[in-house]
């Protein structure tokens, strides 16, 4: 059984994102880029499923420009077996991304596709669900526990009301939440080994995926800033202030 994992290159979560003054987007030049944190957890989960004897191969895939290979190499260093780079210099939105993953799934026939619950750049939270729809596969989103038993996966999902458990037949798409696991650290020898692991490059056209009507970003601006407040010196002062505002 194969597992396919999505890996997206995004601005590192620790970076304080700056919006460009001309409204054309956010500053990416010279900014630290990393694997989407949710995807790191997806890779880790795939490796654990394999290590538990429930899968033979972990394939990681990314869609994006040349530089994304850095994140594929990280995933290979973590322990993935091989990588696929769908190369494009254009921004890929979730519907196209899902269509590309569908084409990869048709080609590779994985039993499980693990994606992050959301990419922390556009915060769309769509790709896994769209892929589920296009493949007519079950979906189990926002997973905080995944158990594989034969041809089914039992997934605990983090939902607003608490924890929901779904049982789904494989093949299935699973999107992962942050509490699913803690990704392993990559060791230096593994980075060296990863350089020799197979990394295949292809284009969107190679996969036979056509562009669909997508969302146009007209402008990007900085959010309204909250007015800076004041420091109070005592609980008494705080209580007075909140009472004046009618809040307590």
């Amino acid at each position: 059984m194969k597992i396919l994992v999505g890996v997206k290159r995004v601005i590192d979560f620790n970076v304080r994102v700056q919006v460009k003054s001309d409204g054309s987007g956010v500053v990416k030049d010279g900014v630290k880029m990393s694997m989407n944190p949710f995807d790191e957890i997806a890779v880790e989960e795939a490796l654990r499923i394999k290590e538990a004897g429930n899968a033979e191969e972990v394939i990681v895939a990314t869609i994006g420009p040349k530089a994304c290979q850095e994140q594929l190499r990280t995933a290979l260093a973590m322990g993935a077996d091989r990588a696929i780079h769908v190369q494009t210099d254009e921004e890929v939105q979730p519907l196209t991304g899902a269509r590309i993953f569908k084409a990869l799934a048709d080609k590779e026939q994985p039993k499980i596709i693990l994606l992050g619950k959301q990419a922390i750049d556009d915060d769309n939270n769509q790709t896994a669900q769209m892929l589920g729809a296009l493949s007519h596969w079950p979906q189990a989103t926002f997973a905080s526990e995944v158990k594989i038993e034969g041809e089914t996966a039992t997934v605990i999902r983090e939902v607003d009301a608490g924890l929901e458990t779904l049982s789904v037949d494989l093949p299935a798409v699973i999107s992962v939440d942050l509490r699913l696991n803690e990704p392993r650290y990559v060791k230096l020898p593994d980075i060296m080994k990863a350089k020799r692991k197979p990394l295949e490059t292809m284009s969107i056209e190679d996969l036979g995926v056509e562009h669909v009507a997508e969302v146009k970003v007209l402008k990007t601006v900085a959010p309204a800033k909250r007015q800076a407040g004041i420091k109070v010196d005592s609980v008494a002062e705080l209580v007075t202030a909140l009472k004046e505002k009618g809040l307590i």
Partner: protein, 312 residues
Amino acid sequence: MSKVLVIAEHDGTNLNGSTARAVSCASDLGLDAIDVVVLAADGSAVAEQAAKISGVTNVLLVQNPANENAVAAFLAPQIEALAADYSHVLAPSTTFGKDLMPRVAAHLGRPQISDIMRVESSHVFDRPVYAGNAIATVEAPEGLVIGTVRTASYKAAANEGSASVETRSVEVTLPTHTRFVELASGGGGDRPDLQAASKVVSGGRGVGSEENFKHIYSLADKLGAGVGASRAAVDAGFIPNDHQVGQTGKIIAPDLYMAFGISGAIQHLAGIKDAGTIVAINKDADAPIFEVADYGLVADLFEVIEELEKAL
């Protein structure tokens, strides 16, 4: 005629407050009609509640035993069948809507606008990106618009409507590949729902333990507040996941938000940007939470809670 369909979120008996917020967003579209669809096993009580939301034209009640629990793979094909009559289909951007709507959109071959925070025109919307550190104005392609509504950006529509309720049968074959097993609720007790509460008291890693969280609950109960938490507090097992506030937790907009022992990471702040008044108690004067707090107090949180409880 252009109409919008809003998908009701509910638990079988009660309509979730996020629905009336999504209706507010739908009203901003200025279309000819707003319909709400309740997909449920029975759902008649929920439909009655939805009919009271001001601005709603019709409530469609789709009854099917498969709708007992909100499983996206079952709900999506039914919504797709209904979508043909509408120019827009919206759902709240809660875990319910986030799970469901992209599945609907992809089947219909449409992109989705996630987390709509403002309607500029029928096809142009503002939405947050980068954990709310940037706001993008986006244009959906011509034709059907599928979106989720960032509920913290909208006040709930009033409760003075009297829409008609119409039972609809939707003939679609549902998949058999998914089974609902159970829902274990976090157990907030009788405390107000985080997403609807006008006051929220939140604790972070600084609270130190599950045991110590009793101080947070106790203060919240005194104030009639909901209880929130940072991810670090949830990860450490101090409190269940459904209390997490932030980019990947709940996005909330209470009148009063009180953060105890929370440093103020951007991912946490993403969840409280729309709060009316933010109060932060932290022993570190340089904690970033003070950059957004209306009232900051540099002090030990336990001492502050003790004094606060006496003062209230």
